[in-house]
Symmetry: C2
Subunit: 306 residues, 2 copies
């Protein structure tokens, strides 16, 4: 498959999904919050909106919606799960950017939340986005039966928690001094960035009431493109510049951080990426043409330039 000939279709689909998720996030962060609360903590809500409505690619929501579509799932339900996942992803960015963590001033070319507001607002907005994600999924407005919503809550909590993303972030903070070997780096990345991408793909199968086997296949697809995502990210860190990335570049090398790119070089990494894309396509083969857009997503993730 030649990525360039397919790119326009994929880019349009990604932008369409991003618009859908942006709309529901705006609704969820504005109207819906009015009902539950006693008073409106306006500044907190402004900080939450700033942390979420920032023009991201919305890749994880895209994966939720397109994997759900494979199974003819309720689109409104998928959209809400997608919004919840994006809320979790954005909370993690807000907290990761804090001075005590990665200490970043820029995110997608804009001041990070603690720069635009302050550190307390960034901590609380992150906490709130994380908590609110479970509210969104558990709510009756997410038109799925109780057992399915509960399954999604559990899977998302595990993907985001100490055995998933948060645990991976903790391992990453240790990596500079502990210098993990190849297996250690792969594990760290599977937790830090892989777990949420895996959840994105698996959740579509859960929402769509897929068989256990199909669900496992989608989860593996998520793991493959999750690893590809991280490899591409590490590659960009050494080959790109800040203007292109919208955030600081060359940070890994400067921090002496162990990455697979640092360990094996650029050519090896490009080969690995090609292998992961092939593996991702193979995992989708039982779904035939319906999975075409997801195959393009795998290519996009492996070859992205920002």
């Amino acid at each position: 498959m030649d990525k360039n000939s397919l790119a326009p279709h994929f880019t349009t689909a990604l932008a369409t999904r991003a618009m859908q998720v942006e709309t529901i996030l705006q609704k969820l962060l504005d109207e819906r919050l009015r009902a539950g609360e006693i008073a409106r903590p306006e500044r907190l809500m402004a900080a939450m909106r700033y942390g979420v409505l920032n023009g991201g690619k919305r890749l994880r929501p895209f994966l939720v919606m397109e994997t759900a579509a494979l199974f003819g799932a309720n689109e409104e339900a998928a959209l809400r799960v997608a919004a919840a996942l994006e809320s979790i992803h954005c909370y993690s960015l807000v907290h990761d950017d804090l001075p005590a963590m990665d200490d970043d001033d820029l995110r997608r070319g804009q001041p990070t939340l603690h720069k635009a507001f302050d550190e307390a607002a960034a901590i609380l907005a992150g906490d709130s986005l994380l908590t609110y994600a479970f509210d969104i999924i558990a709510s009756e407005e997410t038109e799925l039966d109780a057992a399915t919503r509960l399954e999604l809550v559990l899977s998302l909590a595990r993907a985001a928690g100490p055995g998933g993303m948060a645990g991976g972030q903790a391992l990453d903070l240790m990596a500079e001094e502990q210098n993990p070997d190849e297996a250690g780096i792969i594990t760290l990345q599977a937790m830090k960035t892989g777990a949420l991408i895996r959840f994105a793909c698996e959740s579509g199968a859960i929402i769509g009431g897929a068989t256990r086997q199909e669900r496992e296949r989608l989860a593996e697809f998520g793991s493959a493109i999750g690893l590809a995502f991280q490899l591409a990210d590490d590659l960009l860190d050494v080959t790109s510049d800040a203007a292109h990335l919208g955030k600081a570049a060359g940070k890994d090398a400067a921090a002496g951080k162990a990455t697979l790119v640092a360990l094996h070089g650029i050519d090896w990494t490009r080969n690995q990426l090609a292998g992961l894309v092939a593996q991702a396509e193979e995992l989708l083969s039982p779904f035939g043409d319906k999975a075409e857009i997801l195959k393009q997503a795998a290519h996009f993730i492996a070859n992205r330039e920002s």
Copy 2:
């Protein structure tokens, strides 16, 4: 009711519940986490344990368990919900203590988490405790049907999120410059400390399959003792010292923070506390003798000295 004659019974019951919840928390933070994760982020888990296993009174877990007992609920299920709630409560303390928030060095006479570890560990451990709480409740090991677990997830997310505790904390940070009036202070406190205590009492009714009316009654009981809890806290801040409290005293006054005690004085506050205890007892009256320990809890909360 004379609190002194009843205190021994209550104190023993509180200590017993605390021991039960400590045991399950230790189990949940050690054994259970092994299963889900790929690698053990040891330092993160040590930080989570430090943040949770710190000898707290475990008042919220006590309320979950004793309200659940009113309805003859499954005790193991109540214990797990209690542990999840305590995990959320402790996350909020860890984040509130951070330099960018309340900047506290001491908590229950011990160094706060960011002092014992570092700020990054405190941020991540807080995030992890928050996320893990939803994992605990949603898990099949919490022996409740899917609809009940989902109801608990939703109620807890709302109590802890931007319309509840986190929102209250945000309003509190604004309070120094915005100087809220009496209604503003009550709202802020109902969100910041009241929401979780209300959830603690309401969750017992949910776990026990209570009627809608009973559930509402328990929630109101929770609101009354939640407000009493905060009034007693504000009172302690002006009447106690750090050695007694295990944390800094006189902080509110030093920060010029508006509290009902500052607004109305000590005598007014003591009267209010007596009124809230009477209201709490009245709300429990339909449950007769079974609710005796909860009435004692109301007295304890209003009259506590640390």
